[in-house]
């Protein structure tokens, strides 16, 4: 097929659950490509020689090559190509912000001046990963003889899982310590089932366990086992403890009954299955729910509220639609499902009744000024313009900070002023020799793919450290 024909092919629409129906269940919204759809979408790739999409991928997945494999009907080869650089394609295909990464650079989209016209790389990635899972085609690699070295991984989020997967394949013994009773970090407790079925996370973890990774749940490093003990028992440590500390707005009324952090709301719903009426863990099912924030965390909370039976769900964001950091697809899904968006509104007070229950909030109308440090235009209050919005549940989803547990337990760690661990950019080694870190604990709340990218870098450096190819003495 020549480039001109390819260029004319329209994007293949992935079937989705109908919005009216899906707000009553927690099943996944996009249903996936059939092999025919995947083939058609793959044919839209122009196979540019300069491969701008690969440039846009934080881990450099060889995108045109896996798309070529789909076109040739060789799914096994395709998934092999992705897995060479990305351990969790079933996850990334679903949750990566492709419109800001690979698809943003796609020549097809650029030529149409519309990123919505780009080759749907993420959906093709998902197709291959789902194909592998559904056909039980995961290849168990040859594991080299044991190196006799032991590595401790703290946290089972995407960063920790990547490190575990890479190092076990190099012959090192790996133990993953996880504070919660289930694996995955945010993939398990945060991102809802309707966006990332937990079964996918479990199967990825089961695969690593099959390769020999030892998972220890209910183990808080720094509490159940001290960091010093871990350092004594293991030859290297990777800290992937994430950014689990929820921020509050520090405005009046945040302790009222019915005010949740998004983490609590999502943890109750996902980790503890509160969406199931028979779950022992309760959750307040508000009729009118206000979600504060504009990122993925806010979108997930708003759409969870609908599935918990809310009649009205509002996202209240202090900037405009333009600056919203959420993935475009989640924003569109939220709109389709009936979530209302109140832009340029800054919450200033949460209101309650005499019994202490939330009744609503006061918002200040904003306008956009000059760009701030983040490069986005700074919201400024318009004097005298405030209004009240009634709500019976409020979810504060304005972001999370690095988890302070490990830094508190390892005083030698150098930290930045946002509470993140400072590391060497290439090796991810911290200020403490033999201790590496990556993911949200380094970056602050970032993305799955960046966490995995740092995990991969760290694994490479840990391997070098363990095999003595780096020149550093163990203290």
């Amino acid at each position: 097929m020549n480039a001109a024909t390819r260029f004319k092919l329209p994007p293949v629409v992935m079937p989705e659950q109908d919005p009216a129906e899906r707000v009553h269940n927690v099943r996944e919204v996009p249903l996936g490509f059939t092999p025919e759809m995947a083939l058609q979408e793959a044919q839209r790739c122009l196979h540019c020689t300069n491969q701008p999409c690969v440039e846009g991928c934080p881990v450099g997945v060889r995108i045109p090559e896996f798309i070529q494999a789909i076109e040739s009907g060789d799914e096994l080869a395709g998934i092999g190509i992705i897995k060479g650089t990305n351990l969790l394609p079933a996850v990334c295909g679903r949750v990566c912000p492709q419109e800001d990464q690979c698809q943003k650079n796609c020549t097809v989209g650029k030529a149409h001046r519309d990123v919505g016209q780009a080759v749907q790389i993420g959906k093709l990635e998902r197709f291959l990963a789902d194909w592998e899972r559904e056909n039980h085609a995961a290849v168990i690699p040859q594991i080299p003889p044991s190196s006799g070295k032991r590595v401790a991984v703290i946290g089972s989020g995407p960063a920790g899982l990547t490190v575990a997967g890479d190092l076990i394949k190099l012959g090192h013994a790996v133990t993953v310590f996880e504070a919660l009773h289930m694996p995955g970090g945010v993939l398990g407790y945060g991102i809802p089932e309707f966006r990332l079925p937990k079964e996918i996370v479990y199967q990825e973890v089961a695969y690593l366990a099959k390769l020999g990774v030892d998972f220890q749940y209910n183990t808080v490093i720094g509490k159940s086992i001290t960091v010093d003990e871990v350092r004594k028992d293991y030859d290297a440590i990777f800290i992937g403890s994430g950014a689990g500390l929820p921020n509050f707005l520090h405005i009046p009324g945040e302790s009222l009954l019915g005010v949740y952090s998004a983490n609590e709301y999502l943890t109750r719903a996902n980790l503890m299955h509160a969406y199931d009426e028979n779950s022992d863990t309760p959750i307040l099912r508000g009729k009118s729910v206000a979600v504060l924030g504009g990122g993925n965390v806010a979108m997930d909370s708003a759409r969870t509220a609908l599935r918990l039976g809310a009649l009205k769900v509002m996202v209240i964001y202090r900037r405009s639609e333009e600056e919203m950091p959420a993935r475009k697809e989640e924003y569109h899904h939220a709109i389709q499902e009936g979530v209302e968006f109140h832009f340029l509104q800054n919450p200033v007070e949460i209101l309650g009744n005499r019994e202490g229950w939330v009744t609503g909030l006061t918002v200040q109308k904003m306008q956009l000024g000059e760009p701030d440090a983040s490069g986005r235009r700074r919201p400024l209050p318009i004097a005298g313009q405030t209004s009240n919005v009634p709500a019976d549940v409020i979810v504060v989803g304005i972001g999370n900070n690095p988890n302070p547990l490990i830094p508190a337990a390892l005083p030698g760690l150098q930290m930045n002023r946002h509470g993140g661990i400072i590391t060497d950019e290439d090796t991810m080694e911290t200020s403490v020799p033999g201790v590496f870190a990556g993911g949200d604990i380094v970056l602050g709340a970032a993305t799955v793919i960046l966490a995995m990218g740092q995990g991969r870098k760290a694994a490479r450096a840990i391997h070098a450290w363990l095999t003595g190819t780096t020149e550093k003495a163990k203290d």
């Binding site: 504070a179 509490k223 500390l245």
Partner: protein, 285 residues
């Protein structure tokens, strides 16, 4: 597996368990707690580590049946297992030689108070203990507390045992006898903690209270356990559970404990119903 080794009834609806939890047993300090799930689909609930035996790798948990999960737990027998136990969580109690320490415990709060009183005694403090219960058969751990106290006073609301009255009455009469107290520790029902702390504030006695807000993860992840202390948001699971009782916003904390009252009632009723129609209700009540 967190196998239960021993089970003992301490009073009406209160059971003491000795259970395998080697990492917790070797790392815990007085004042810390665990979070457990009884079954693999159960709720996560916090329980104080009442005592530990590092050699045996066991901890003791004392549980009062108040709702679905604690009732479910009360059904467990030696040989059964608790599905998940994570800990020790929270900051340990600040134990040092203060001089005379007043330990005030009420209801199930006597369970978490015991390891602290014991620690205070081991730190060579003079320990005066005041225990409050609604009635005699609700009083727990009297003998254990007596063993670690120099003086023990018991009050009951109905006068069925000890002195009739509230713990605050007993503290007042201690003070009027000229007893000097350097530090107080209070653990019990939130209202009791509030009124005890109002009194000790008035009397100028530094006081720590161990708070028991609703928790999920216990690692600082959800913020559900937040309490207001000196006007600031604190997470009881990582910043506490102990705080300076005189600067805790008690009213807000007490209100937040009631967030799920309706849902909890529904869960407990359903559980009771299932027990009655299905399994043998046994000693769940």
């Amino acid at each position: 597996m967190n196998t239960i080794r021993k089970r003992e009834e301490l009073g009406r609806n209160v059971v003491r368990y000795v259970v395998d939890a080697p990492l917790v047993a070797t790392h815990r300090k007085p004042g810390q707690f665990v979070i457990i799930r009884v079954t693999d689909h159960g709720e996560r609930i916090p329980l104080t580590i009442a005592d530990a035996n590092p050699e045996m790798g066991t901890i003791s948990l004392i549980v009062q049946s108040v709702g679905k999960t604690t009732r479910e737990m009360a059904m467990l027998r030696p040989g059964n297992a608790i599905h998940d136990i994570v800990g020790p969580l929270g900051r340990p109690t600040h134990i040092q030689r203060f001089g005379t320490v007043l330990c005030v415990g009420g209801g199930i709060g006597i369970a978490p108070l015991y390891p602290i009183a014991k620690g205070m005694k081991e730190a060579r403090n003079r320990v005066i203990t005041v225990l409050g219960a609604r009635a005699h058969d609700l009083l727990i751990l009297e003998d254990d507390m007596r063993n670690v106290s120099d003086e023990l006073i018991v009050t009951t609301d109905d006068g069925s045992y000890g002195t009739k009255g509230l713990v605050t009455d007993a503290i007042r009469s201690l003070m009027s006898d000229g007893t000097h107290i350097d530090q107080a520790v209070v653990i019990g029902p939130p209202l009791m903690m509030k009124f005890t702390s109002l009194l000790t504030k008035e009397l100028g006695i530094p006081t720590m209270a161990s708070l028991n807000p609703i928790m999920i993860d216990g690692t600082g992840l959800c913020g559900g356990c937040r309490v207001t202390v000196s006007g600031e948001i604190k997470f009881a699971c990582v910043d506490g559970p102990e705080f300076d009782a005189h600067v805790v916003d008690w009213d807000s904390m007490i209100r937040r404990l009631g967030t799920y009252r309706t849902a909890e009632q529904v869960a407990a009723d359903r559980y009771d119903h299932e027990c009655r129609v299905g399994l043998d209700a046994g000693e769940s009540r």
